[in-house]
């Protein structure tokens, strides 16, 4: 192994052969033939007896052939670095960007490889938490399908050749001001990137620059522009809101600053005693979103009807002659009596909480609605309190008009050089812009991207882009704090960072991103203390001194009234269905399509993984005569997509929801052919809600990996919930829900009264169903991705899963979530039946799994009443690509075939914390050990710690009157208990049915 380990290995070194890179059939055969006992895979019909005999024979021969111990090498450095040696973990601060916002992160690195991402505790918008996208982004770094070479006209090239060729373009553009130069890039908020873009603009004043994202907050920005006169950033503070109204808004998961929103929202929902107040959340939407699944009251209506609803609400709020200028309600506007009551109760609730309420609208709603919401928030006194507007700096807003005019210019043949900077128009540009054919008209197409994606076949030059974990840079958080993006590893795949490439485009010179970044910061930080300040900046990752200023500009009511009146008067195609385009809960706009963790994560509402069926309501399904899994042809704007349907209880009638991000066709082993591409139906005028879709049932069906009924628990009262009022009348409702005789054990039980005793409490009021815990656990514990087929069979390997229960009316159900990992029962049913004692209980209360003893009887999984044990039916890590092996956490075993696994309460973290504390001569205090799920949960729903420590949070919560153990009547004494869920319905609106949740029909 003649590698120089002093420098981090480049992407090239990890490929031993082209076959391995391409994963060609020859290579697969080569790998597979190493293990003759695996000759029978899924469908060989090899009987167990024969299999064992083959195994036995080969083992015997193996035993005789070589008794020598295999040689293992220790390969140290030649010159070792001072830190980061094997066995030592290092943490670096960096930032994750998402649209115009950024979240500070701290990344754990083992011997120069980043393995686990956590939120930064120094960034107050994040507060140490993270979401699924942040957690899963580490896998994107190691994606073996990333491009690793510069490609020019189909042949491998190198950067100097590109610079040489580009210098000619650069020179010509300098002369003509860049009039035939065009750049498409995503929107961003970054001081250093903005500096380079400014340089580009100064060099080429006539160049066309279009900043555009397939899913962005453009409508929000334009709404605020309409309302206040200029584009500002919307920042919501839910911790101060007592009444929340969400209009098609997924503010807890994918709209806006979801981490900060979730934390603030949870603060309002956190109830510790019957005297505590609780906020109330009303939601109005078409498709069931993760946020609205937590709502106390939910009204389902088509997205296009929401503006009228809001207008009615506005009129109701305006009744005391407040003087808000509003257009008249259209004559044909109709609301059912139930809806009218809803609106009046809602209006009253908002009125009673002036200055402490909040109205949010989703990014899919029109700018006019956002403007009206701006005015309503102002009317209710929320401006500056629960909602703030920031003057953005270093920000490039997304702009569809710029993209449209650029497309028109391309069509006219005016563009000689088109640069796709981290942009993929062939896949996600609006279909009416016909970007695929128009891109061919450009003379030279330069494609800068991490993958050879759908746009690269059109490119003359492809330059691989570095991942953010390989790049230097900076970003602005939503409130203006500056965050540093620091690399944890040198580019694995020969990528160039965004900063250095943009500089190259602007100046035709190669300069390192580190230098470019420091240049910008040298202008900000004083020169005499620069080195010290710079080190502190890298250590903190956050620089708060330059946060944005905010103002509450008065709403321009006349303008809003005029535009809104036009908006509700727009003629719409009443035939066919309304179509909602939504970002997918895990893949977002498709950027994560090749990320195995996110593809395998079941959508919290539909519980479907590896697919994006069209969501419809039960009534719509009946109307078209379709059932779950039926293929239909959806036609819109002249294009058709064949897609399966899925009935989602609570979906509005008369509309269909299509999720973006699937159906990609680039050479990504996970992404290619997974799901259905609905971008072909999307237009630039109506990117989120369109009208007049035709649905035609096709003959075929599509089997989907649906995890709804996996781990079914037969209708037992596993989620205990009540309304706030019921809780106040009967504080002990949670333990009282299940009556059982006094629990007596057959044998003498362990006292568990010494040392550390680990326990966990999950607050069901705080859990919003975001699944951050699932991905964090997957990242920390090397949980394999098993693929669609296995998920269909119920063999997904997630150690902590989110069970979603519907309850109530089938058309308007309520949703309850329950995160479920191993309950670490003191009288564990699994431990009692293991024939080889592979699972035992340790002195600290953990149910421990010893993988090497396990022989795969699966009796333990059979006996577990919670169904939290996962079995490795196949060797899921057999063909893990070399780079993905780098993503694994070296502190946790990688499990082989035939071995049972389950949540271990992050025993590696417990052990490490104990050893460290012991070495330092101290004991552990509350908070020293955090499980991966607990650390990432944005709403702080999970509490973990030593239950013998009376002051520990977990102990206090276990003493709470809402605390209950699932299936406690079995006397298995789980260490993992729950705080019952509370809902806060308004007494005037019919309280939804509460009590034990049952499975919905779907």
């Amino acid at each position: 192994m003649k590698k120089d380990l002093n420098t981090i290995a480049r992407g090239k070194d990890y490929w031993r052969s082209l076959d391995e890179l391409a994963d060609s059939p020859e290579f697969r055969k080569f790998v597979e033939s190493e293990f003759p006992e695996e000759a029978g895979e899924l469908s060989s019909g090899l009987s167990r007896r024969k299999f064992l005999s083959v195994m036995g024979a080969s083992l015997a021969f193996a035993g005789l052939s070589s008794c020598r111990r295999p040689v293992e090498k220790i390969v140290p450095y030649v010159k070792a670095p001072a830190e980061g040696l094997p066995g030592e973990k290092l943490f670096y601060a960096t930032a994750h960007t998402h649209g115009l916002s950024a979240q500070g992160q701290v990344v754990e690195s083992h011997v120069g490889r980043p393995t686990k991402i956590e939120g930064s505790t120094r960034h107050d918008l994040v507060n140490g938490k993270s979401n699924t996208r942040m957690q899963a982004s580490v896998l994107n770094l190691y994606d073996p399908d990333r491009s690793s070479e510069i490609i020019h006209d189909g042949a491998v090239s190198w950067i100097e050749a590109f610079v040489e060729k580009y210098s000619e373009i650069h020179k010509a553009s300098l002369e003509n001001g860049g009039q035939d130069l065009a750049l498409i890039m995503p929107s961003f908020a970054s001081p250093s990137l903005n500096r380079q873009l400014q340089l580009f603009r100064d060099s080429f004043p006539a160049a066309r620059i279009a900043a555009w994202d397939p899913v962005s907050d453009e409508n929000v920005h334009r709404g605020i522009e309409l309302a206040a006169g200029k584009k500002m950033l919307l920042h919501t503070d839910l911790s101060k809101a007592k009444v929340i109204l969400g209009l098609d808004s997924d503010f807890l998961h994918s709209d806006g600053e979801d981490l900060y929103n979730a934390a603030g929202y949870a603060q309002g929902r956190r109830v510790r005693s019957e005297n505590d107040p609780m906020s109330r959340y009303y939601a109005v939407e078409s498709a069931y979103s993760i946020s609205a699944s937590n709502a106390d009251h939910r009204l389902r209506m088509k997205s296009s009807e929401i503006p009228l609803f809001t207008l009615k609400l506005a009129h109701t709020l305006n009744h005391k002659g407040r003087g808000l200028l509003l257009p008249e309600m259209p004559a044909d506007a109709y609301f059912t009596p139930a809806q009218e009551k809803w609106i009046s109760v809602l209006a009253e609730d908002l009125e009673n909480n002036r200055g402490e309420c909040l109205i949010l609208a989703g990014r899919n709603q029109s700018p006019e609605l956002h403007a009206l919401v701006y005015a309503l928030n102002e009317l209710l006194g929320n401006s500056g309190r629960t909602v703030r507007y920031y003057d953005a700096e270093d920000t490039v807003f997304p702009d569809t008009d710029a993209l449209k005019s650029l497309a028109a210019d391309l069509d006219a043949g005016n563009i000689q050089t088109l640069i796709l900077f981290d942009s993929n128009p062939a896949y996600w540009a609006p279909a009416d812009l016909k970007m695929s054919s128009r891109m061919k008209k450009a003379g030279t197409l330069i494609h800068f991207s991490a993958y050879l994606d759908e746009s690269s076949p059109y490119a003359d030059w492809h330059i691989p882009a570095a991942h953010y974990l390989e790049s230097w840079g900076d970003a602005r958080a939503l409130d203006g704090q500056r965050l540093i993006v620091q690399p944890l590893i040198a580019p694995l795949f020969n990528g160039s960072s965004a900063l250095s490439f943009l500089h190259l485009l602007a100046t035709a010179e190669l300069k390192s991103d580190f230098e470019l970044l420091q240049e910008g910061w040298k202008e900000l930080l004083p020169a005499d203390t620069f080195d010290k300040d710079w080190m502190k900046l890298l250590s903190d990752g956050v620089y708060s001194a330059t946060a944005y200023s905010h103002h509450a500009l008065p709403a321009r009511q006349a303008e809003i009234k005029r535009r809104f009146a036009e908006h509700v008067a727009e003629k719409r195609d009443a035939n066919g269905l309304e179509v909602n385009f939504r970002p997918h809960s895990s893949l977002f706009d498709g950027r994560h399509a090749n990320n195995g963790w996110l593809q395998e994560l079941p959508d919290p509402i539909s519980k479907i993984a590896w697919d994006n069926p069209a969501w419809i309501s039960a009534a719509t399904a009946e109307k078209y005569g379709v059932e779950n899994g039926d293929m239909v042809a959806v036609s819109l704007n002249g294009a058709t997509v064949d897609i399966p349907v899925w009935i989602v209880p609570g979906h509005a009638d008369g509309c269909v929801t299509l999720h973006l991000g699937f159906g990609r066709w680039f050479e990504g082993r996970i992404a290619k052919g997974t799901g259905f591409n609905v971008y072909t139906l999307r237009s630039s005028d109506k990117p989120y809600t369109d009208f007049g879709a035709g649905i035609m049932k096709l003959r075929s069906k599509h089997a989907m990996a649906n995890t709804q009924d996996h781990g079914s628990m037969e209708g037992r009262p596993l989620i205990r919930e009540a309304s706030l009022e019921e809780y106040r009348n009967n504080p002990e409702f949670a333990p009282d829900m299940v009556k059982h005789p006094p629990l007596k054990s057959l044998w003498e039980e362990h006292p568990y009264d010494e040392g550390y005793q680990w326990g966990m409490v999950i607050d069901l009021n705080a859990c919003i169903g975001c699944n951050a815990c699932t991905i964090a656990c997957q990242s920390e514990n090397n949980i394999p991705v098993v693929g669609r087929e296995m998920v269909e069979k119920g063999r997904e390997m997630h150690w902590i899963r989110l069970d979603r229960y519907f309850s109530g009316d089938i058309d308007d159900p309520q949703v309850a979530y329950q995160p479920l990992g191993c309950q670490h029962c003191e009288n564990a049913p699994c431990e009692q039946v293991c024939p080889v004692a592979a699972t035992s209980h340790d002195e600290e209360g953990l149910n421990v799994m010893t993988y090497n003893r396990c022989i795969g009887t699966r009796y333990c999984a059979n006996n577990c009443p919670y169904k939290v044990r996962r079995f490795n039916f196949y060797n899921f890590t057999k063909d893990t690509p070399e780079t993905l092996k780098m993503a694994m956490n070296p502190e946790v075993s990688v499990r082989f075939r035939g071995v049972m696994e389950k949540c271990t309460f992050c025993t590696q973290r417990i052990n490490n914390a104990k050893i460290q504390a012991k070495n330092e001569g101290r004991g552990l205090k509350d908070g020293d050990v955090q499980t991966a799920c607990q650390q990432s949960c944005p709403t702080h729903a999970i509490s973990f710690g030593n239950i013998l420590d009376q002051k520990a949070e977990v102990t206090v919560l276990k003493g709470n009157n809402r605390n209950y153990a699932m299936l406690a009547e079995l006397n298995i004494k789980p260490r993992n208990t729950y705080l019952a869920k509370l809902r806060n319905p308004h007494p005037a609106l019919s309280a939804p049915k509460t009590g034990p949740a049952e499975h919905g029909k779907a």
Partner: protein
Amino acid sequence: MIGGAVATVGFFWYFGSPKFTDVGYRPAQPVEYSHKVHAGDLGIDCRYCHTQVERTAKAMVPPTQTCMNCHIIVKTDSPKMRPVNESWYSNQPIEWVKVHKVPDYAYFDHSAHISVGVGCETCHGNVAEMEEVMLVETLSMGWCLDCHNDPAPNLRPLSEVTNMAYVPGPEQKAFAEALIAEKNINPPINCSGCHR
């Protein structure tokens, strides 16, 4: 018949145990490095090269740079130094053969042991007398548990951890009890202690 069964069992009991198959493993290393010369005769402390043993889980085989600290001027022409010089000047690491190994699913932490007074010699033997490193203890789980169940005979004062010539005195029992109480020594005997 019974004698045959006993003989067979006895055969595998001895020849199949790690005491036979593993102890005595003394592979040829790429460099003829003698611990006897360096740790024994020259008296260099274990921690000079194995720097991380008190801090982290892994003790660390030293980088070539550590050798060159002295050998940039000391015995540069010796034929035994040749692979080290090659490594240093060509910037390619030396590939040592691993002698002491626990399975991948068992996680051993050096610092936890050093910080409570388990000597290097207890597990690695008298390395200062070894020309070539040899495995002297089985490092099997049973062997680890023997000490974990009763650590007292294997504890020594922290200052003597790297002393290869240390012999426990007559007050070993009292000393060990005091140390166990002082440092709250409670070695894990449950699976979770090592199996992660």
